[in-house]
């Protein structure tokens, strides 16, 4: 169990049911196409993208994506629309960097590791476009601060203090 592969099997096993490397094709791609993605949605999603996050396993950074959009805006927007409506499996692989917590030296327990998941930056851009649509269509309640746009921990804390 002390081998790297033994530890990784145990850690992933504790995260939940896992399976072999396979694509689940039970959900077809063409059943419910999304409404057209407008240029403003892409620009808004790009504006919310931070510049200092690590890239995913495809090594594509946000500055590169911004440069791409600036250089070929029409082609870039078309690429985003195609990516949203096409096979998503190319974006589905993430890399989780495990950093041991000093206070908990049990390496076979998932809680002993701090996990930093690196996702594809382009996939995150697509998610921001969808997130914007979800936020506009779903109301989650006035005390769920994580779902509000432009709300952060400060607003949640201010709400608590107001009641007190």
């Amino acid at each position: 169990m002390t081998s790297h592969s033994g530890i990784s099997d145990l850690v992933v096993g504790q995260l939940g049911p896992t399976g072999s490397f396979s694509i689940d094709n039970s959900l077809p791609f063409v059943d419910c196409p999304l409404p057209y993605v407008h240029e403003e949605e892409i620009v808004a999603a790009l504006a919310l993208s931070p510049s200092d996050t690590s890239p995913g396993i495809d090594e594509v950074t946000y500055p590169f994506i911004w440069w791409l959009r600036k250089k070929w805006p029409d082609q870039f927007d078309d690429m985003v629309r195609r990516a949203i409506d096409s096979d998503h499996s190319r974006f589905h692989c993430a890399e989780a960097v495990l950093i041991p917590k000093a206070a908990e030296p049990r390496y076979d327990v998932v809680k002993s590791w701090r996990m930093i998941v690196l996702l594809s930056t382009f996939a995150k851009l697509l998610e921001r476009i969808i997130l914007r649509r979800l936020v506009m269509s779903l109301e989650l309640g006035e005390t769920q601060f994580g779902s509000w746009e432009k709300c952060d921990t400060h607003d949640a804390m201010a709400n608590v203090l107001e009641l007190l």
Binding site: P33, E95, E127
Partner: protein, 261 residues
């Protein structure tokens, strides 16, 4: 209180049903379901990369969609339970998986009973979704200058804590910010020491020179000590303490990079 496991325990099938029930447009719901099917992950540690695993449940951390989807998943657990009565006002608020029950009551007995009832209520709904609240991470404190007795929450006897952590803010029983400022400055000192250790260990020749130290100061030290600054801005004594700490760190950093001796 904290939802144990959080994103890792989210059942994507149930999520789809909950979102449909809340009126999510079918195209969006189908897109989210497709987006999260067959996620793969590989682990990296000690410079070694594992094989690729297929993860059947959960939504990934660091994904912009995950916090919103998690909240959609637990929205009924932490449904806006704001209750106003003549003698008790209660509110359950949450920020992703961190939940706070706030009670304002006329008497200590009422203030002690109300959170237990709300906790049990939330726990029962959470259990139906395969979630539970970690009692180890659940803490409480009482205000009003009274002596508070321990309460039994989730079968565990919990004594009031001196200062409670709510979303990274430290609130003490006197509802002032002294413990918060002390805690943030202590954390800031730890960050300063780690920056110093990194620059001393690697130095200019290994890519940890003055510029990198300054970037770490900006990116790690300042956010640590300035967290919650908006709440203490009107208290000049706290601001002075923070400013002295920051100045001291700047002086320490500059003198270690450009020693006068």
């Amino acid at each position: 209180m904290d939802v144990e496991g959080g994103f890792d325990k989210l059942d994507r099938g149930l999520l789809r049903d909950f979102m449909a029930a809340r009126g999510c447009p079918p195209q969006l719901n189908a897109w989210v379901a497709r987006w999260y099917r067959s996620r793969f992950v590989r682990l990296r540690f000690n410079g070694w990369v594992s094989r690729t695993y297929c993860v059947e449940i959960s939504v990934p951390q660091s994904s912009p969609l995950s916090p919103f989807l998690f909240e959609a998943y637990v929205v009924d657990v932490l449904a806006p339970r704001i209750r106003y009565g003549p003698s008790v006002r209660a509110m359950v608020s949450s920020y992703v998986d961190d939940t706070t029950i706030t009670i304002a009551a006329d008497s200590r007995a009422m203030a002690s009973a109300a959170p237990i009832e709300l906790f049990e209520e939330c726990s029962a709904v959470a259990a139906a979704r395969g979630l539970n609240f970690s009692t180890l991470k659940t803490e409480w404190n009482g205000h009003g200058g009274l002596a508070w007795e321990p309460v039994v929450i989730g079968g565990v006897r919990l004594a009031p804590v001196e200062n409670i952590r709510i979303l990274g803010y430290r609130v003490n029983r006197y509802l002032n910010w002294s413990d918060h400022v002390r805690y943030r400055l202590k954390r800031g000192l730890g960050v300063r020491n780690r920056i110093s250790a990194v620059t001393m260990r690697f130095g200019d020749s290994a890519g940890a020179g003055a510029w990198e130290a300054f970037r770490l100061f900006q990116g790690a030290y300042l956010p640590t000590v300035y967290y919650g600054l908006e709440f203490v801005a009107n208290h000049s004594n706290y601001i002075k303490r923070i400013q002295i700490h920051v100045n001291d760190t700047l002086h320490f950093g500059i003198s270690s990079v450009y020693p006068t001796g």
